[in-house]
Structure formats: structure tokens, C-alpha cells
């Protein structure tokens, strides 16, 4: 599924980012690399969304979130 469809308070595993090289590199440097686990803090299904990666919160434009593939992540404690 794509990140823009993700539901609030769920955890997702980032699979891949389909964008220009520069954007991809920047996202990885910000901690959003394939394999990382993110939570969705805020998604109104319109406008930008806020995602959490560890303790930081990053807002991403919807068009960018459309290009990020994720899968639901069931956490096991």
C-alpha cells in the first residue's frame, strides 16, 4: 500500500520510495530509509501528513506520500 493511505496510530514498515534521487537521499538522511518503522501521527487523507520515526516527527506532502510504499507492521513485544 502507499503511505498516503496509511491510518493514524498504526505502524508501518517502509518498503521503497519512488522519487528523484535527491529526494530519496534526503529522506534516507532524515531517517526514512527502506526497512525503517514509521508511525502515522496525522493523516486527514487530504493535505500533508505527519509521520513519526523514532522521536522525530516529519511532515510530508501528499504527492510525496503517494510515492512511498509501506506495509502494515504488527509490532511484537
Amino acid at each position: 500500500m502507499i503511505l498516503s493511505q496509511a491510518k493514524e496510530e498504526n505502524f508501518y514498515k517502509l518498503i521503497q520510495i519512488e522519487d528523484k534521487k535527491e529526494i530519496k537521499m534526503k529522506l534516507i538522511a532524515m531517517g526514512l530509509s527502506p526497512g525503517s518503522i514509521v508511525t502515522v501521527v496525522k493523516n486527514d487523507f487530504s493535505g500533508p501528513l505527519i509521520i513519526g520515526i523514532n522521536s522525530s516527527r516529519i511532515s510530508l506532502g501528499r504527492s510525496l506520500a503517494n510515492k512511498i510504499e509501506v506495509s502494515l507492521y504488527e509490532k511484537t513485544n
Partner: protein, 722 residues
């Protein structure tokens, strides 16, 4: 001789870099930073254990691949200024991400000190890091700190000195990439080794990643070598392998108890960025900001106004004659500079408000909320941050446009920034609006000015994005710092810092210009006007005497006759007729004085300049005095007030003189023109620096043209109705 150590502070945004910088330097930094985002480096110098340490705080970066210009400032400093030590500050609650930059910094072969900050926050979030293990893995020294509590600050300094003095250079380890990548790196490295360069591993990697800035420095021989090598997907692979290296390392040293508790900050975020609530909350915050600036500011403003009135009276009564020095002090300096100083409380409050927005973390949310609106006009939310800062001062606003990721957004934003009235323009509004409008309408007028500025900005942006600056939008990526209760000490100090720029400007530049303007308004001396005034005055005086004498004598006779017989009767020579005469005389003299100053002004250099440009602005409803004030405001917007203050120096209240000299329609026309027209010199210079000379000139004339066109239309249509 003390040992000199040059230290650069580098780290991700929001890692607490600036807090640590302030703690280390005790806020004794040299370059005053404007409110808003750190987009320029700050330097502080201190002595510690016989060493002189100069510390530079750099804008936050995630990596050394540069997208925006604030990141460029950091990269340039690290690469070109060659610091002795890089202090890499890490947010301990987010070690994984921070290490990405760390591994890149290590490739630069500059001694590195790792500062793991916010260890208390990490603990509460269930993140446990084995710092000793991390230190031995990376082969760098680590200091643990809690920046906002000042814990570990001395340890940082000790570590810096011990690295510098002992020469114990720990540059850390390199990320080992896969064989294919390393093979290519080796080829380039061996080539560069002959050229006696430093940082060759880093340069080799960057060359293979085709970093335009590193490529630029190389000769043709090197470039042709690079051309022969396989570079496809090189960057992707390097980044991925770096990432993999870090996650392997993190697994060893970081233990994270999976915490799905939503933080308080997240809960606040759900409300303030809510689809329906976000915008109203944003508007309320904006309203409160300006309300606070005005209502709270009016008390100290009145207080200052009183002081200046008393000072004026004291100085002019000290001389009691027509002295040039007195005129310079009263008409030039007090009227000119004083009229600007009384608005300082407003400016300070506005800076405090902007500081609060920034420190609390709301600024990023405002950008988020505005993203939808900004998107419709072809920019994104990030552009709103410079605009918000622009309400304080356009100069730092232009600087902060560096956070924008592409040139097109940056230029568009800079172009419209003067339309967001800065605090100096606000001071002019604060003078003009009450002069022409009742308090109720005043608020509406002020609001409408901000709205007109905003609407105009939107139109200009839309037009630009459809014509010169066409192209697809770049994605919106922005870190949202957690909400926090701002430190009021910090905010006040910060705002005071910004105000001091205005104070310095008033004491130097504005003062100088005021003296020049005063000179231009007084010279050449119109002796005829003076003689004429004295003649007319003595005619009046004699007439008054002759009228007053019989009434006075009569009244005296009347009262003294009563006194003769009545008990407890004292003379009181007031009588309605005398009062009336007195009033007439006062008015007559006032008229003569203003006539004299009008004549003198027309005769002066300034008057001649004003009369020369008057025809051009006549269709806008302006007379030569307003033209002159507008002309002065090109140097700094506050000077608009100063100039009017000097021109109307003879009267008691500037606002009253304005009210009696101009109509409401003219008043609003002036406001409108001032809102849009040419930016001040400082803005022009900053636009030139951040964009180009052509751009700054274009902005200057385009905005003035718009201002003229709109004001002309408004005044001419308004004249039909009023």
C-alpha cells in the same frame, strides 16, 4: 600565547545545537541572529584552560548532500573554513538518524567529538544507548549532555581542549562499502593521491556521486578518469550501504523498547493541525500576536511619548530664543529620532511574539496548516515561514528563505515578502491610522492593509508561477519539532537582541539621516519669511495690547471697587472677553508660525526637492511633504515618521497636524502606497545578496509601479465618492 582552537558545531535540526551553543558561550555570540530559523552561522569566543576557543554554530543538516541554502552554509564552513574540531551533536533519542551525518563527517578526516544530547529525553522514551560501545566502534570520544539543563557542557570544553592540546586525533572509522564500490573509490583515490590533496576518500566518493561542487574543483584529467567509471546507481548504493552499516551498528548499541504511546506533542498536533480546527486556530494565533503588539504596546508608547514631549518643552524653554542649536535638537533630533523610538515597544513585542511562535514549535505547524492554501497558489507551506518572519523585519525574512528547497520558490517568496508589512511599516501605520480613523475603524483599516498585502502577494505569486516560474512543485518535507514550553528568558533575550539592531540603527543611521534632513529643511535660511513673521507678530502684539488695555483696566477698576467694601474678596482678572482675546491671539500666532514654517520649508533645499517631485504624486492625493516622507522612507521605513516629524515640528502633536492637513482619503492612499511601494535599502541589499542585482532592481521598480497604479486608481475613484 594562548592556543587558538576553531570548533564547528554540526548536527541535525532540532538536536539542541543552539541550546548547547548558548550554554557554552553564555549567549556571548558575535553575530546577532534574527528571529526565526537558524540559517546563518553564529560565532562565539571564550577562554577555557588557557585556550581561546572560537565556536561556530551551523544551521542544522541531515547530510552533506545539499538541497537548500541553509545547508550550504554548513557544508561550506566545514569544508572551506577547515575547523580544528567538529563537534557533532546527536539527539540521543534518535541516534540511528543522527549517525548518518556522523559517518559522512568522519570521511572528512577532521577530528570529531560526538556529543550525545538529550539523554534525559531518550530515557523517558525508552531508548537506551551503550555510549561506550558506540565510542569504541566509531573510535571517537563521546560526551553525554542534557543541553537545556547545562549538564555536560564543561565536559565538552574539556574534551575539545584535550583533543586540541594532546593532538590525539581521533578521526573515527570509515564506512566500508561493498567491493565494487570500494574498487572504484580506490581508483579515484590513487589518482588524487598524486595531487597532494586532503580528504581524498571523501572527495573520491563525492566525485563518483557526481557532486557538482566537488566536480567543479577538479582538473580535466580527473574528470576524464571519472567519466570512464561506472557511476549508475552509485549514490543510491552508497547511501543504502551507509544506511545498512548504521542500522547494523545501531542494533548493537541502541536498545529501543517499542513505545507506541502517543506523546503529548502528538496530541496537540492532532488538534492544531486538524482539518477543520487548524485554520481557525492559526487565525486566532495571528490575531493574538498583533493584538498583543498593539494593545500591550500602547502603554509604554504613551509613556515614551510623554517623556519626549517634556524633553522637547524643557529644551526649547531653555533657550527661549530662536537658536539653531535648539532647533537642531528639538526639530531635528527629538522630532525625527524620537518619533521612531516611541514605537520600539511595539517592535519589541512583535519580536517576542515571533520568538514564541518559533520556540514553542508552532511555527512549523503554521507552515503545515498554510500548506493547503499555499499549495493552491503554487508554493508550499515552508514558504510561509519567511512570510511570518517578514512581519518582524523583511531583511531576516529574505535570509530565512534559504530554507526553501528550490530557487524558484525562493525567488517567488522573496519577491512578495515586502508585501507582508514589517514592524517598521507597522510603526508608520500606528502613527497614521489613529490620525485619520476612529479606534473602531482603525482596527478595520489595519486589518484591511494586511489583507490587501496578502491578496496582492497571492496574485503576484500566481502570475509568476504561470509565467516566469513555471514547473512542477517539489515535494514538501519538513521536520516538526516537538511542542515545548518556551523559555521566557531565552525569548526575551532573543527579542532584545533583535530590538538592539533597531536601537543601534536609530542611534546611528536614523540619527544621521535626521540631522541631514533637518539641515535640508532649514537651509538656506529664508530671511524674508523670518522678517515677515516678526513684523506680523509685532502688529498682532500691538493690536492685542491696544485691545486688552482698556478691558483690562476696566476690569481692574470694577474688581478693585468691589474689593474696597467686600469681605474676603481677591482680585481675579479673568473675564470672558479677555479669555476670548487670548484664544484668538493664540490661534493667530499658531497660524503665523505655521505660515512661516511653510514659507521656510518651500525656500529650503528639501522644499525645492519636494516641489520638484510633487506633480508626479499629485494624482495620488499627496502633497510635497508626504512625497518627501516617502522619499526618506526609502532609506528605512521608520524615516517616514521622522521626516513628517521634522516637517511638522512646530506643532504639538504630529497626529493632530496630519489630521488638520489631510483628508481621510489621502490618509488611506498614503497607507496603501506605503504598504506596497519600494522596499527599504536594507531589504534591497539583502535581496541583491540572496538573489541578484537584477532581481533586486526588478523588485524595487515593480512594487513601486504596482503601488502607484493601485493608489492612483483608489484615489481617483475615491474622489468621486468623497
Amino acid at each position: 600565547m594562548k592556543k587558538q582552537i576553531k570548533v564547528a558545531l554540526a548536527g541535525n535540526p532540532n538536536c539542541g545545537k543552539t541550546t548547547i551553543f548558548n550554554k557554552i558561550t553564555n549567549s556571548r555570540h558575535k553575530v546577532a541572529n534574527y528571529p526565526g530559523v537558524t540559517v546563518e552561522k553564529k560565532e562565539g569566543v571564550l577562554s577555557f584552560q588557557d585556550c581561546s576557543i572560537s565556536i561556530v554554530d551551523l544551521p542544522g543538516i541531515y547530510d552533506l548532500n545539499v538541497l537548500s541554502e541553509d545547508e550550504m552554509v554548513s557544508r561550506k564552513f566545514i569544508l572551506e573554513e577547515k575547523p580544528d574540531i567538529i563537534v557533532n551533536i546527536i539527539d540521543s533519542s534518535n541516534v540511528e538518524r543522527s549517525l548518518f551525518l556522523t559517518t559522512q563527517l568522519m570521511e572528512l578526516e577532521v577530528p570529531l567529538l560526538l556529543v550525545c544530547n538529550k539523554i534525559d529525553l531518550a530515557k523517558t522514551q525508552g531508548v537506551e544507548t551503550h555510549f561506550q560501545k558506540l565510542s569504541s566502534f566509531l573510535e571517537v570520544a563521546i560526551v553525554e549532555t542534557i543541553g537545556n539543563k547545562g549538564k555536560g557542557i564543561d565536559e565538552i570544553l574539556k574534551a575539545i581542549v584535550s583533543i586540541a592540546v594532546n593532538g590525539k586525533v581521533s578521526k573515527g572509522v570509515f564506512v566500508k562499502f561493498s567491493e565494487d564500490i570500494e574498487k572504484n573509490i580506490d581508483i579515484v583515490k590513487r589518482h588524487l593521491e598524486h595531487k597532494n590533496l586532503n580528504q581524498i576518500r571523501w572527495k573520491s566518493i563525492r566525485l563518483l556521486e557526481q557532486d557538482p561542487l566537488v566536480i567543479k574543483e577538479q582538473d580535466g584529467q580527473t574528470l576524464s578518469l571519472i567519466d570512464t567509471l561506472e557511476k549508475k546507481l552509485f549514490t543510491e548504493n552508497v547511501t543504502e550501504e551507509r544506511q545498512r552499516f548504521i542500522s547494523r551498528l545501531s542494533k548493537e548499541v541502541v536498545k529501543r523498547s517499542f513505545d507506541d504511546r502517543q506523546t503529548v506533542s502528538d496530541k496537540i498536533d492532532r488538534v492544531v493541525t486538524n482539518k477543520y480546527l487548524g485554520m481557525p486556530i492559526f487565525l486566532i494565533v495571528m490575531f493574538l500576536m498583533f493584538q498583543m503588539t498593539f494593545s500591550l504596546g500602547s502603554y509604554p508608547t504613551h509613556f515614551l511619548q510623554n517623556i519626549f514631549n517634556k524633553l522637547t518643552f524643557a529644551i526649547s524653554s531653555f533657550w527661549n530664543t530662536d537658536s539653531m542649536l535648539s532647533s537642531l535638537l528639538v526639530d531635528g533630533i527629538l522630532s525625527g529620532v524620537g518619533s521612531v523610538i516611541i514605537f520600539f515597544p511595539n517592535i519589541l513585542l512583535l519580536f517576542i511574539a515571533i520568538s514564541i511562535l518559533e520556540e514553542s514549535g508552532y511555527m512549523a505547524r503554521a507552515a503545515y496548516v498554510m500548506d493547503n492554501v499555499m499549495h493552491k497558489i503554487g508554493l508550499h507551506g515552508k514558504s510561509f515561514i519567511p512570510m511570518l518572519i517578514g512581519f518582524g523585519c523583511t531583511v531576516p525574512a529574505i535570509m530565512s528563505s534559504r530554507i526553501l528547497d528550490n530557487k524558484r520558490d525562493k525567488l517567488t517568496t522573496i519577491l512578495v515578502l515586502p508585501l507582508f508589512p514589517c514592524s517598521a511599516k507597522l510603526a508608520v501605520f500606528a502613527l497614521l491610522i489613529p490620525a485619520f480613523f476612529s479606534p473602531f475603524w482603525g482596527g478595520m483599516v489595519l486589518f484591511s492593509l494586511y489583507l490587501i498585502g496578502l491578496l496582492l502577494a497571492i496574485v503576484i505569486i500566481k502570475v509568476l508561477r504561470k509565467t516566469i516560474f513555471k514547473g512542477e512543485n517539489i515535494p514538501f518535507i519538513m521536520e516538526m519539532p516537538p511542542f515545548q514550553v518556551p523559555s521566557f528568558k531565552l525569548i526575551f533575550l532573543n527579542a532584545w537582541d533583535k530590538l538592539s539592531i533597531f536601537v543601534k540603527k536609530a542611534a546611528t543611521f536614523i540619527l544621521g539621516v535626521c540631522i541631514i534632513l533637518w539641515f535640508l529643511s532649514k537651509f538656506p535660511v529664508d530671511h524674508d519669511a523670518k522678517k515677515d513673521y516678526e513684523e506680523k507678530f509685532s502688529v498682532n502684539q500691538k493690536e492685542m495690547q491696544s485691545q486688552l488695555a482698556p478691558i483690562f483696566l476696566n476690569e481692574f477698576k470694577l474688581q478693585s471697587d468691589k474689593q474696597k467694601y467686600l469681605k474676603n474678596f481677591e482680585l481675579d482678572l479673568k473675564n470672558p472677553e479677555i479669555k476670548n482675546l487670548q484664544k484668538n491671539f493664540n490661534e493667530e500666532v499658531k497660524k503665523l508660525k505655521s505660515e512661516k514654517s511653510q514659507k521656510e520649508l518651500s525656500y529650503s533645499y528639501l522644499g525645492k526637492i519636494g516641489k520638484f517631485i510633487e506633480p508626479a504624486f499629485k494624482p495620488l492625493g499627496f502633497d510635497f511633504r508626504i512625497d518627501l516622507a516617502l522619499l526618506s522612507s526609502l532609506a528605512a521605513k521608520e524615516l517616514f515618521i521622522s521626516q513628517l516629524g521634522i516637517l511638522f515640528a512646530d506643532n504639538i502633536s504630529l497626529q493632530e497636524s496630519l489630521k488638520s492637513n489631510y483628508s481621510q482619503l489621502t490618509g488611506f492612499s498614503v497607507l496603501l502606497f506605503l504598504l506596497i511601494s519600494a522596499p527599504c535599502i536594507a531589504t534591497f541589499a539583502m535581496a541583491r545578496k540572496e538573489a541578484s542585482l537584477f532581481f533586486a532592481v526588478f523588485q524595487f521598480f515593480a512594487l513601486t509601479f504596482f503601488a502607484y497604479l493601485l493608489t492612483f486608481t483608489f484615489f481617483q475613484i475615491g474622489r468621486i465618492f468623497f
